[in-house]
Symmetry: C2
Subunit: 336 residues, 2 copies
């Protein structure tokens, strides 16, 4: 699936920016694709882009309305459906990352059918994906992996791709989750794929490319996660990464939501990915470590990263507070 830009991003009357993270992510990483935001009166959240109505957005060339919120329970308030239907009527594609299906809403479906616009449910995976072949593809690949879920795999991949482009490296962010897909405008929701096709989906996501091109692939879950390890392994084998970056939260000791499981050490995590990843890419190697240090005392952050760097001999960064240059350097050193 590929989204049509520019976007009008609907955040309605969302009360807390936490629930607008899809919209905010697009504005942060792909500002050039955003025409404006659609807010209802009294909305407390502001994404810092022009407010506009559906009519205004259409007149400025907008091609999609993106539902930019993830409300609790995944339910869209009744009051929002009017503006969604109106957008479909005016020919905008409607892009939905929630679990609901747009076609289950007859008025929206009818409006889209009459105007010829598309209803895009990001979480519905493509059909007819192949089983993974394991055949070596041209081009280079980097996968972000983690000691747990929610440790910055998407953020790190986006920051790396941006830094690579800044130094003139040919690179593409490859999205595997709904927020990443919304930001990139395309991708495959890997966790919704039928089990037999996980690595095949990863192969499809990151096809043959120029020898010096890098796909920067958004990781999912963790090989150490009792719930999601299957997703992570299929993605690892299908991505056949040349390089990987381990993502970790500096203060986390147990798996988030699975507190009866201790986190693996960063060393164990590197070792496991090397061992298993070499099945589809014998040259796999770790090129850096990305740490979320935001819950450490401010004065301890630099020391934490320095210590880790000494321990592992790898560049260690917090992508929220600093540049990815040292990881990029390491990649250039290793792959030139």
């Amino acid at each position: 699936m590929k989204l049509n830009a520019p976007y009008l991003i609907l955040i309605g009357d969302v009360e807390d920016s936490t629930y607008a993270k899809t919209g905010l992510g697009i504005v942060q990483w792909r500002p050039e694709l955003v025409a404006g935001q659609l807010r209802f009166s009294g909305c407390q959240v502001d994404m810092g882009v022009p407010d506009m109505t559906v009519e205004e957005a259409v007149s400025r060339g907008a091609r999609s309305l993106i539902i930019g919120v993830a409300p609790i329970g995944g339910i869209i308030p009744d009051s929002w459906w009017e503006v969604i239907t109106d957008s479909a009527n005016q020919g905008l594609d409607i892009v939905n990352g929630l679990h609901l299906k747009l076609n289950d809403y007859p008025k929206v479906a009818e409006a889209a059918s009459q105007s010829g616009s598309r209803l895009i449910d990001i979480r519905v995976p493509p059909t007819n994906l192949p089983v993974g072949t394991g055949i070596k593809r041209l081009g280079k690949r980097l996968l972000t992996v983690g000691t747990d879920c929610a440790v910055g795999k998407k953020y790190t991949a986006l920051a790396l791709e941006k830094a690579m482009q800044a130094v003139g490296m040919d690179s593409t962010f490859r999205a595997t989750g709904q927020t990443g897909i919304m930001i990139m405008g395309e991708g495959i929701p890997i966790d919704a794929i039928k089990a037999d096709f996980i690595s095949g989906a990863a192969e499809t996501l990151s096809p043959d490319n120029e020898p010096n091109h890098w796909d920067v692939i958004e990781g999912q879950g963790s090989l150490f996660h009792p719930g999601y390890s299957g997703v992570s392994l299929g993605l690892l084998h299908g991505s056949q990464p040349d390089a990987f970056v381990v993502c970790h939260d500096a203060v986390r000791k147990v798996m988030s939501g699975w507190e009866h499981y201790p986190l693996p050490s960063i060393g164990e995590c590197i070792d496991m990915h090397n061992r298993i990843g070499k099945r589809t890419n014998p040259d796999i190697c770790c090129v850096g470590i990305s740490i979320n240090t935001s819950d450490l005392p401010k004065d301890d952050r630099k020391q934490y990263l320095d210590n880790l760097e000494n321990e592992t001999g790898l560049p260690c960064i917090d992508p929220l507070t600093e540049e990815c240059d040292t990881i990029i350097e390491k990649m250039r050193e290793r792959f030139n």
Copy 2:
């Protein structure tokens, strides 16, 4: 899903026993559940159970018609639908392991709806499976794993369960593929589960049980398989096996259908399962090796197994030609 026995098994006019392996599997492993076979005139395959019509089967208490063939392309000939519809009309559940969906056939659907019988598509997984929790469950579990697909994981699990019952051990075969589900009468088609729910499905398949009860879980794929490793890892983590048996084909050197991938050695396979499996069961151990020796020269088979036994210190058997007693002994020694 749970099937109602006894079964009438439809093999129609199948020309080759290869395509009747579902029916033959049920007759081999669960003869007590089989009322008879339904063959068309001229059918060359005979499963060695009584021939009967739908009427005869119903009058003898049959409760399900099982489509016992897997024809090329998965298509059921038009001529078969008449007897399937008739069975549904007479109140038999219809059990289908092919990719087609019985409800797509209006006459069958209508007949089932009028008689109150069920249309069961084995390949359609249950919905609302949970994400795996990784919480330790009571009871014991054995998982068959493999160096590749199609190396005897299902057969070995069935043979082990039978041998365990023969010596009075409390055990249950847990099916994860369509043939296994047909044989057992229940199970979960693990390869059709959405990626996020693989280990959760495995946990559901093998719930808390008596401390001395063994679930003997049918493995799928291989951790070393470039196409299916995600399925295998989710199943391993969700099964949290206390014991595993490695299945292998004595003459296979490369992965079947993925010939650009060498098979792992049995030692690597044991080591990898110990390393990764301990994440959800720290006490995991290998209790034996199951080898398909049928493609070795007859005179070399015993020597092969003896050599492997000396090398690994583990019981090594070919379940097609001998009993599983040595593996059972090893289990009793290890877990008593």
